[in-house]
């Protein structure tokens, strides 16, 4: 009996914990390596064999980025774009998703399929005509161009997500409020929206991450260095910095920090919770 227990535990170790650990290693080691590279001194980054823990933890790579490379400006440029995209996308998908979830109307299927189709469009294809469009509107080297296009490209997915969140809230809630004498708009603001708070956070975070990471359209629309965003500057650092891997890694860590923090907030929303909610409803 006891032997069987040991065998079972061993089996669980080999079939479950070991592969899980390997996956975890595969995912985390690259991130770990980036972080410790950014904390090493310039000389130590280039020592062979490599050190797996910094001999001395230094922040000089980070300080250098802000003092010499003007990282603060690029950070700010990126924030402007990401925050604008977040507000535009969250607001528009909030109202669009409401229509898709709560109304039956002619053309609903068409809208649905149309938005689904946009998910297949390659950014590279759109880039060419959009570049000419932005040139015609003289928005080249203006963050507005990136804001507009990033918003447009994240809108369909965000609206679908929002629609799912609305669907998970039973209509009886609003109906009850309306029976109690609430107007339609009143029921939306007083009953529905308070229930949608976490959904708005999830969609907003998704839009923020998209705007923050936007690369292709930024490459196309922005060529002046002082208008660069973080992905652009990091991409050019790759060639400029040569073997200053410490600086490069530090740049990545700074660019990643806000996104990872947001991700921790929304990752629960991404998996399960939302479906289990709808099952319950």
């Amino acid at each position: 009996m006891k032997k069987k227990g040991i065998r079972k535990a061993l089996k669980k170790l080999i079939c479950f914990y070991l592969p899980l650990l390997l996956f975890l290693g595969f995912i985390l080691i690259p991130i770990y390596w980036m972080v410790i590279t950014s904390l090493k001194e310039g000389k130590e980054v280039l020592t062979i064999p490599a050190t797996y823990w910094p001999r001395k933890i230094v922040f000089s790579n980070y300080l250098k980025l802000f003092s010499k490379s003007g990282f603060g400006r690029y950070f700010l440029n990126t924030i402007v774009i990401a925050v604008s995209v977040t507000f535009i996308v969250t607001f528009l998908s909030l109202i669009g998703g409401f229509a898709m979830s709560r109304y039956q109307f002619k053309g609903k299927t068409t809208v649905y399929i149309m938005l689904l189709l946009t998910q297949m469009f390659p950014a590279v294809v759109l880039m060419i005509p959009l570049f000419r469009m932005m040139t015609a509107m003289s928005l080249i080297n203006n963050p507005l161009s990136v804001i507009i296009v990033s918003s447009a490209t994240s809108l369909p997915f965000c609206m679908f997500t929002m629609m799912g969140f609305y669907n998970a809230i039973p209509t009886t809630l609003e109906e009850a409020a309306q029976v109690d004498g609430c107007t339609v708009i009143g029921s939306v603001f007083r009953v529905l929206l308070p229930n949608m708070r976490s959904s708005m956070v999830a969609v907003g975070a998704y839009a923020f991450i998209n705007g923050w990471n936007q690369f292709l359209y930024s490459v196309a629309f922005i060529s002046q260095k002082e208008k660069y965003t973080l992905p652009l500057i990091l991409n050019s650092f790759q060639t400029e910095f040569g073997i200053d891997y410490g600086g490069l890694a530090a740049g990545c860590v700074i660019a990643l920090a806000p996104v990872i923090i947001l991700f921790v907030f929304i990752q629960k929303n991404l998996v399960g919770d939302q479906t289990s909610g709808s099952v319950k409803g």
Binding site: L46, L92, L117
Partner: protein, 303 residues
């Protein structure tokens, strides 16, 4: 009198969903559908920025050149095909395995899930930099580990050989794409009723049997939809390849979309690039129609 007022209110009510949807649809029409139409118009023109004198309508000439003379056209499609199929299949299989493990209850599950899903939020450029630190020839982590393990004596140069560069790219892409699969599969796994497993346990089914007789059939639709969608996105993605190999060495990792970007961004040949883009659009449309047909089949996934 009363009737007209009623019908006015009726129309007002009818209009609400259209008004609410107008901004979204407008945005998408102007900045996504109209550009696609534009690509087709532009593809019929000779439009090179550096040669303004030769600009004009040329009919199907760009297409003829592409189909008859462009060697890179075939090569880049081949590269895209390898890139999409290999990385998507690996992601789908590993993603399924990983999500069944993450679906089990164990201590620290929430934390492990968050860790494993984190690359989802990381951009293509940063993914490229992270992996260039790993695959670097002299100071890269991978060569260092392989050396310590005694598996190699000389440092491998990962990006100077076509197939090695491809492997490096695919590993980086799997790393970044795995969370997407896990997120979708995990949501699908929530829909598998527990009592099915309980019944299987009563009958004495093995874990293997339970996976392939119960789990896979129930989440089949989600597997197909997720895989197709990811395949399209992998085809469309250029940022990772652009910053990690730039299509090199030579043109060994030049995918079709990267080729379009090169024609547009480096050679400034808008007409030709548009023709290439138009071909990609048509191919993707066919693929997408299949996708939509199938995703309708698994309606509960989206509708």
């Amino acid at each position: 009198m009363k009737r007209t007022r009623k019908s006015f209110r009726y129309y007002k009510k009818m209009a609400i969903p259209y008004i609410l949807l107008f901004p979204v649809v407008g945005f998408v029409m102007v900045f996504m559908f109209w550009p696609i139409v534009n690509v087709f118009i532009l593809s019929l023109q000779n439009y090179e920025v550096m040669k303004p004198a030769e600009r004009g309508f040329v009919g199907l000439q760009n297409y003829m050149t592409i189909l008859t003379q462009d060697k890179l056209f075939v090569k880049s499609w081949y590269n895209s095909f390898i890139w999409v199929v290999v990385s998507t299949v690996i992601q789908a299989v590993l993603g399924f395995w990983l999500s069944t493990m993450l679906n089990k209850k164990f201590r620290g599950r929430g934390f492990v899930r968050a860790m494993i899903l984190s690359p989802w939020a990381i951009s293509g450029v940063i993914t490229a930099i992270i992996w260039s630190l790993i695959f670097g020839q002299q100071y890269g982590l991978l060569n260092d580990i392989l050396k310590r393990l005694g598996m190699i004596t000389e440092n491998i140069s990962w990006f100077s050989d076509g197939s090695r560069a491809r492997i490096a790219l695919i590993i980086a892409n799997v790393w970044r794409g795995l969370p997407f699969f896990v997120i979708n599969y995990l949501s699908a796994l929530q829909t598998v009723p527990d009592d099915l497993y309980e019944a299987a346990d009563m009958e004495g089914a093995t874990g293997f049997q339970k996976t392939f007789r119960i789990t896979v059939p129930v989440v089949k639709d989600s597997i197909i939809v997720t895989t197709l969608l990811r395949a399209i996105w992998t085809f469309n993605a250029v940022d990772l390849i652009f910053s990690l190999t730039g299509g090199g060495p030579g043109r060994e990792t030049m995918t079709y979309t990267l080729y379009i970007m090169n024609k547009f961004k480096n050679e400034l040949n808008y007409g030709y690039a548009s023709a290439l883009a138009a071909i990609a659009t048509v191919c993707l449309c066919i693929f997408s129609l299949i996708y939509i047909k199938i995703s309708k089949m698994g309606k509960e996934a989206l509708y």
